[in-house]
């Protein structure tokens, strides 16, 4: 459990982080809470040449009302999301889901930006970001760009963030009315075998899936079935359409498809759809 040798630099500002990233090249990794990256490094499954530590950039830790959206700084820790008054008012699903990530230690160190940037389809928050039509604010040497969540997740542990870029903010739509998060796992601290997020941002329900493919997914077939007037139970039947879940020690792909159907139905029912 000793990582391979690496260089380490602590960034004092976002600009410094970006210039450090440029300087160290594409084998450098950004270190935030470290709760995904460090275990991989200890197992030597990840061997970055350098770590650019952004963990002390307090300027990136906030939850703000930004009109029709909520703006969340990338360094906001799960625990801060969990107890945010702003989120309790305008997007309570985010607080709830942040409270389901890992265990208390993980939640006090892990950040929403780290979770989203890691691009793990088994993580809880990326699916919520997808369901709430998130906008990801990415800053690089050329300035800032905004990527919609639907274009952000490129593949397993792959996102739209370039090697010299930093995710700085996540903008989410506010929710209205009922919502649900169905996390199915065997142990409290485990990743979801399958998870389902249901939320309404503009009256129509959005449904997103955790661990049903290489990236978090919107259950598009469910959403269009609902739009066409299907009941939750009917719509849930198409929950696994277009999904390509893996088979692993937790569950076969077949079982994951089944779980997705059950959990989507339960999620829609709990959300009052």
């Amino acid at each position: 459990m000793i990582p391979a040798a690496f260089e380490y630099a602590r960034a004092g500002s976002v600009d410094e982080a970006i210039s450090l990233l440029s300087e160290h090249g594409e084998d450098a990794k950004v270190l935030a809470g470290g709760h995904s990256l460090l275990p991989l490094m200890k197992l030597r499954l990840a061997t970055p040449s350098a770590l650019i530590d952004v963990g002390r950039l307090q300027e990136l830790s906030y939850v703000r009302d930004a009109g029709d959206r909520i703006a969340i700084g990338a360094l906001t820790r799960h625990r801060d999301l969990q107890v945010s008054d702003e989120l309790a008012r305008s997007a309570p699903i985010v607080s709830h889901v942040a409270g389901l990530v890992g265990d208390p230690q993980v939640r006090h160190r892990g950040t929403i930006g780290g979770s989203v940037a890691h691009g793990d389809p088994a993580s809880d928050l990326p699916a919520v970001v997808l369901a709430l039509d998130g906008e990801l604010v990415i800053r690089g040497p050329a300035g800032e760009r905004v990527v919609p969540a639907s274009e952000f997740f490129h593949g397993f542990l792959e996102t739209a963030i370039g090697p010299d870029e930093l995710l700085v903010e996540i903008r989410l739509r506010k929710t209205q009315g009922g919502w649900s998060y169905q996390k199915f796992n065997r142990r409290a601290q485990d990743w979801a075998t399958v998870g389902v997020a249901v939320a309404r941002t503009d009256g129509t329900p959005a449904v997103a899936l955790v661990n049903m493919g290489a990236t978090p997914l919107r259950a598009a077939a469910v959403e269009s079935a609902l739009a066409a007037g299907a009941s939750p139970a009917e719509a849930a039947e198409s929950a696994a359409e277009g999904a390509d879940p893996s088979s692993d020690i937790q569950a076969s792909a077949e079982f994951r498809r089944h779980l997705a159907r059950v959990l989507v139905r339960r999620g829609l029912e709990e959300a009052g759809v």
């Binding site: 000793i2 079982f255 779980l259």
Partner: protein
Amino acid sequence: MSILGNRVLRKEDPKFLTVGGSYVDDLPLEGAVHVVYARSTMAHARIGGVDKSEAEAAPGVLAVYTAADIDLAPIPNGAPFGNPAMTRPWLADGVVRYVGEPVAAVVAQTRAQAVDAAEMVIVDYDPLPAVVDPEAALRDETLLFPEAGTNLVMTFPDALAGIMLPAEAADQDEGIFDDCEVVVARRIVNQRVAPCPLEVRAGAASWTEGRLTQWATTQAPHGVRDTLAQSLGVDPTAVRVVSPDVGGGFGAKIGAYPEELFLAWISRALGRPTRWVETRSESMTNLGHGRAQVQDVRIGGTRDGRILAYRLDVIQDSGAYPAIGAFLPMFTRTMLTGVYDVPKVYFKARSVATNTTPTVAYRGAGRPEATAAIERAIDLFAAEIGMDPADVRRRNLVGKDRFPFTTPTGTVYDVGDYERALDLVLEAADYKSLRKEQARRRQSGDASQLGIGLSVYVEITNGLPGSEFGSVQVRPDGKVTVRTGTSPHGQGHVTSWAMLVSEQLGVAVDDIEVVHGDTDVVPRGVGTYGSRSLQTGGVAVNQAAGQVVEKARQLAADLLEASPDDVVLDKAGGRFHVAGTPAVGRTWSELAQAAGEGGLSAETDFTAPGPTFPFGAHVVVAEVDTETGRVRISRVVAVDDAGRILNPLLAEGQIHGGIAQGVAQALMEEVVYDEDGNPVTSNLADYEFVSAAELPAFETIHMETPTPLNELGAKGIGESGTIGSTPAVQNAVVDALAHLGVRHVPMPATPERVWRAIAESRAGGNS
């Protein structure tokens, strides 16, 4: 008032809760170099060659050793009476037999340097077919040890007939089911699990003037000392083994592993102290695994619930290098019929080598496997004849007036009252109301169905012959030093042995120091395993304390010029005086000073007349989500009778931990290999190690049936919870689905397995 039977707080805890324990890897060891093992990435392969040149040249590296460098004799087969051709090399020699097997030892100035250099050891593997499934291994198509000519390690009872068992023990089978109206058979897999002590394996070795000090995280330091001496070819007096705090063992730390023993050899070769600690991933593939039995059960009886015959055929997976795990079917046979009076039985077991991590003793060690088999069999039988499983059990229990009771396999149970345990647990659980609630749920077609699982068990503790050492010494300051050959690693002997001595001497528990885990300080010892400690080591300490009191009484009588018969010990005041004249007396301190050099002391080696047989009954209530297959345990109600209880707090701790591990086997944990022998559960993210969040509060019910075999009336409690809970949980899961036609769900009853069992049953299959 007696201190015995009270919830005395653990003397150990203030340290653990404040500054923390001191484990092997915490030891400061001046000038020590670090050892890291390069390990096999293949389950079965010939080693074409090992290129260690790059590793040898890496920064800080002192040496890299492979099999070619070692002058030690191979390690004998660890299963008593097992195939003698199945020996183990210290480092893989010409062939690797499981993923994780040490191939080379890298020694460097720092641990990080050793880890880096171990990655540079290049092994040229020529793959061989991997034998992962023990049943396939029995076909001998690929041999792990070609020189043995077979993968079969040993057969039970044949291999022990005329040795540990009577010659006629090679049981006969034919016709035992002839009188049965109903016979049910099923294959049951008692899956491989990982013991997962919080402290992984670690060791350190240092030679001074020809004498070795070895630090070991072990359950049996004297055994490690003897193994070291034998392996290195030195006299046992030239070896000191020290076990500081040990963070759990569960049976897997009874012996010493090659990686630990080899530290002493390296230290001698280099003239430097050595140290080593494994990672969790290494631990998951090298600390021995437990269970790993494939069982074929057959049970038969009458339609009104009388069991007449029972047969169990076992395939024991021994892993790559047979160790004590290969021998454990012996105990499965010992406890074959459990709490039931079964007239006709048959048992056969075969231990077989596979390309997997060796199996060892794990909490229960052969007995949980026996209990799981018969308790599942009883439920299968009850389902077949349509009778309540509680009634079938009651009908067949050994009656309380029949002890000592000799089972068909020759085991002699000391004492028991199984029906009372069953009554108590059913009453505490409110069994009738549970069945009503179950009927209501079934009626309503609720997605969440209720399962009620039962088990009634008996197990054997202190099952291997052996004595245990205990001594008590009153020091001139009036405080007491107790030395014990037991080796606690979480059990609380420091507290309980102090209670025993306090009771006899009238010295406060806080003034009694209990010393263990150092072979230079404790002259002899067997160790802590098999739930043996209180009934052997505790009794030894108790007897030594009694002898010290008698010596002190004699001495006080001399000093007081009175007859010893007239001198009494005032335990409240901790002093001796003549009966009726308390004003004149002698304190422990005065007597110890008067006794001269060494104070007042006595030592004992106690050998119990035989093993004891704790028993109990568990009811588990499971909520099963029939849509997702998820099982939630809502209640565990447990009667565990371990004879007289010395400290209920400690006993409950053992029961709680035991139940947690038992539930974990039933629902969560399984060591899994892919078909090529690659482990796929080698960290605690992939291996479903249970946590408190998955468990309900346990309801433990008091019951004490003292054993006549020792003066304390005590039996062992360390393994009971594990033995009783596993089948109760599995039975509860099946019971929740019984109305859907499900008869069995394999362990661990994962959501997917439960879902599949329901789906197959609905599709008309026979799950």
